[in-house]
Amino acid sequence: MTRIVALLAAVALAATGCIGTKVSEVTPPNAADCQLNLAINDWVGYYADAAVVSYIAEHELGCIVTQKNLKEEVAWQGFATGEVDAILENWGHDDLKQRYIKEQKVAVEAGWTGNIGQIGWYVPPWMVKKYPDILDYRNLNKYAKLFRTSESGQKGQLLDGDPAFVTNDAALVQNLELDYKVVYAGSEAALIQGFRQAERGKKPMLGYFYEPHWFFSDMKLAHVKLPPYETGCDADPQKVDCDYPELKLDKIVSAEFAEDDNAAYQLIKKFRWTNDDQNEVARSIAVDGLSNEEAAKKWVEAHPDAWRTWLPPRS
């Protein structure tokens, strides 16, 4: 109530006195020069990439950055309309590259982010101590009944994340003849919460997870080994029977954006950092509760050498 009164008072004061900064005294962002529409996918590692690139684009290059929360595949659809200029952390997606880069020619690759991605199946640390042989997929059926939940019935539960994430899990369960059922938790945060609860309560959990991720510095999740990856073993999504490949995470931009070649494009093309860098920013966001921008600012101030090289040479 006091706030409303204060606001009314301020309005009244302003009405009589016309106080304050004038709009004309604020420099408008120069829209013509450098605009960036950034797709945001739903995991904290991506947020870290996006936060740092946005921060530097805005504060060093004076760009206008618009962030859009989109699922991975949906973001690719935005290249054609200019709705999306760039995706900062792409996990493989050879089918999408085929369609949008080779066939429709609306997108182009913009290089490696410096991060190596590894998707896999993980169990909380306490389980490895108690069941040392659980890390081999051939023993998973032996332990299936441990992982039973109200959702998986007589089978064990394999917890996946967002239905939009890159996953072969349903096919893997089927093709490796595992006595498991895939249940989707819906998000990265739900997976993390699941692992935390499992470790705290010493409850069994088998879940989809990935590196790089800050969560590994909190909890040493143990990686369950599947049959090793060989080129082409995941070509048919219905017949996959091997582990996930190591992925060089890369950047994809719209063809038009690359052609314009503005400062933001230059930045994105040169953007490259390590898993540790990403984890540092991701941790600030997810654990310390900083806003994306604060987290980026903190990292940018602490590592000037790391990102100076991403800027265009001063002329």
Partner: protein, 670 residues
């Protein structure tokens, strides 16, 4: 007297027969299940695709590939997209984002609040003007001004287009029986189709972005205004029409001078419904890159941040309350203003004039001074600095409350979840999905026949056949089981709370606004705390569906109970009935039609939440749709799943509607 008794006896007999028939079918079904279970179930693994899904995938690739070359895209879809894009962009420039080389939108917050207040006064009077001013200012205090304006821009764009298309179409449908007959089934289809389902096909033609988001919102918001306008035109009193005909008016004169003005009040009700629908869809449109509050809500869901999601959801509720109350008051007022006396009108005109001047001043302010352009987060009054940030408080309190509940009630909630899952959901799912498909289909048809008659059976048979074609029989049965359980819970709430509200006007007054808020709060908001309480399970999806569907059913039951004639209640009381007896022997039987209608609407609302449930571990059709929306090779399967949901909806709708019609054919019937 004698005939009446005989007729009642005959009806009673029929009802007893229906019950035995349904019981018999279920017993036979269980026996067959026990013998044949897990054979011929047509269950499909999540990664498995059928030929039909392959075709749909190919269809998409073809459309996608022709985008650059086909004239259909160049001259039709792209043209529509460009036009709508321009319209939405204009609104966003006006209200939401820096535009025309300035660091702020064309109209700042002070200007928008002034315009909203003035409009509310002009349309609906002083009290609504205050509501609009407080409501819009509150959005700023929440720290969500910019997001709210993006959402408002999208809503306005969709509503304007919906009215441009809907009112003429509604008038036509009201005048011509033939047109109405064509339009009605299309509208039925649009309304049973869950909103998620058409996002994927829509982006195929219009890509992602504001245009596609507006069209998605438009599709969802269009049916009410068409229906209600048609209804308004049709119910104009024939006497008034005849009078003008005898005066020699042309058809146009009749329409413009008599039918439209007389239907005006009803049409405003349609506008109100369309606005509400558009606002609720504007959130989901965030999934295809619509900026605004929906983005905040969905982002918060990903991070399981209940506080932020609730704050943004609350902003949507506030906008909804303002729009709803103002248009509702406006529709009641049209009549009063016309009858007001001259002095009253003169005073009103003076206030409007002065108000208009104030609005222009406010707009000028908001274009000139920063404090009235961007919503300030703090303000100096003399030497004292006041914070204008309510948002952080709302976020923190919500987070604290939800955390406490999650930490302290986890035992209880798990027990509830397990009880419902093992006692109700799993057996039902086993019966529906574990029986051979032909057994389940026959059983459903037999039950439909017993409850709703032969015409419902024909529709149901068609729907079931098409579900077979989609290749998703197994998933459909899992979804059907969860939907039925959710509907049962919805009806429990509907009857208990609805009866209590129907019997006590005071309780009604307290509860109704809560129900309104639950209905406008985007479903994603309450998904987050439920996810914390019940984990990624089918039960979480059921609870979310119940939260969404129960308000409608409760309201319908409450209205039904209130509709029981006072004389009947008096008679029951004077016959010495107890409260329990009056409820069970008089009020509930007298509202049988309202009850079946509540079940019908409950089911439809539950089904429209199925997809959202797919996001939190419910699997089945909901998951198929979400995955199809986000993974290339599952596109066709997702589309098929969307169609399967619509088919389930049409089937259940027809069965319950026919059953409702039967119930009302035997009025009272104790």
């Amino acid at each position: 007297m004698a005939t009446a008794t005989v007729a009642t006896g005959g009806r009673g007999l029929r009802r007893v027969r229906t019950r035995w028939l349904v019981a018999g079918v279920i017993v036979a079904w269980i026996v067959l299940w026990a013998v044949l279970r897990n054979r011929f179930t047509l269950a499909l693994e999540p990664a498995q695709l059928t030929t039909v899904h392959g075709w749909l995938n190919d269809l998409r690739s073809t459309v996608d590939a022709s985008r650059a070359t086909s004239p259909v895209f160049a001259y039709f879809f792209d043209a529509i997209r460009a036009a709508i894009d321009a319209f939405v962009s204009l609104l966003q420039d006006l209200l939401a984002r820096p535009a025309y080389g300035r660091p702020v939108p064309v109209i700042g917050w002070l200007g928008v609040v002034a315009i909203a207040t003035w409009l509310a006064y002009a349309l609906a009077g002083v009290r609504m003007a205050i509501l609009a001013a407080v409501g819009f200012t509150f959005l700023g205090l929440q720290g969500l001004w910019e997001d709210s304006m993006y959402t408002l821009s999208l809503t306005i764009a969709a509503v304007v287009l919906a009215l441009l298309i809907g009112i003429p179409l509604g008038v036509l449908a009201g005048l011509r029986k033939g047109i109405e007959r064509v339009v009605t089934p299309v509208l039925d289809f649009m309304q049973t189709m869950p909103t998620f389902v058409y996002l994927a096909p829509l982006t195929l033609f219009f890509l992602i972005g504001p245009a596609a988001a507006t069209i998605a919102t438009l599709i969802y918001a269009l049916p009410p205004v068409i229906r209600i306008t048609a209804h308004g035109i049709r119910t104009v009193s024939p006497a008034a029409l005849e009078a003008t005909t005898s005066l020699g008016a042309t058809r146009w004169q009749k329409l413009l001078k008599v039918q439209l003005p007389l239907a005006g009040q009803t049409i405003v009700v349609g506008v109100n419904q369309t606005m509400m629908a558009a606002l609720s869809m504007a959130t989901i449109a965030a999934l295809i890159a619509a900026p605004g509050l929906g983005q905040t809500v969905i982002n918060a869901l990903q991070a399981l941040d209940v506080g932020t999601a609730f704050n943004a959801g609350l902003a949507i509720v506030v906008i909804a309350i303002v729009l709803d109350r103002v248009t509702t008051a406006a529709s009641r007022r049209t009549e009063r203003v016309r009858r007001a006396d001259a002095s009253h009108l003169r005073r009103r005109r003076v206030i409007l004039g002065v108000g208009a001047a104030a609005v222009i001043w406010a707009i000028w302010q908001s274009r000139t001074y920063l404090w009235s352009a961007r919503f300030p987060s703090e303000v100096d009054v003399g030497p004292v600095r006041f914070s204008l940030d309510l948002g952080t408080g709302i976020v923190n309190v919500t987070t604290a409350v939800v955390t406490w509940i999650q930490e302290n009630l986890a035992g209880v909630t798990t027990a509830v979840k397990d009880a419902v899952t093992y006692a109700l959901l799993n057996p039902l799912q086993a019966l529906l999905g574990g029986s051979p498909w032909f057994v389940t289909a026959l059983a459903i048809l037999a039950i439909a026949f017993a409850l709703a008659g032969i015409r419902a059976v024909i529709v149901a048979a068609g729907c079931l056949a098409l579900i077979l074609v989609t290749g998703l029989w197994g998933d459909s049965m899992v979804t059907l089981a969860a939907s039925l359980v959710a509907t049962v819970i919805v009806m429990l709430f509907g009857v208990v709370v609805g009866v209590a509200m129907g019997r006590s006007a005071r309780l009604d007054q307290v509860v109704r606004p809560v129900l309104d808020a639950l209905q406008t709060m985007p479903a994603f908001v309450y998904l987050v705390p439920f996810l914390g309480l019940f984990g990624a399970t089918r039960f979480t999806a059921i609870v979310a569906a119940v939260a969404y569907a129960a308000p409608v059913s409760i309201k319908l039951v409450a209205d039904g109970i209130r509709g029981v004639p006072a004389s009947v209640m008096e008679a029951a009381k004077s016959a010495g009935s107890t409260t329990w007896q009056t409820i069970t022997k008089v009020q509930l039987p007298m509202t049988r039609r309202a009850l079946t209608l509540a079940a019908n609407q409950g089911l439809i609302y539950v089904l429209s939440m199925v997809v959202v449930g797919g996001l939190v571990g419910a699997g089945a059709l909901g998951y198929d749709v979400v995955a199809g929306f986000s993974q290339l090779e599952l596109y066709g399967k997702g589309l098929a799943a969307g169609i399967a949901i619509v088919l389930l909806g049409i089937m259940l709708d027809r069965i319950t509607q026919r059953a409702a019609a039967r119930a009302s054919a035997r009025p009272g019937g104790v």
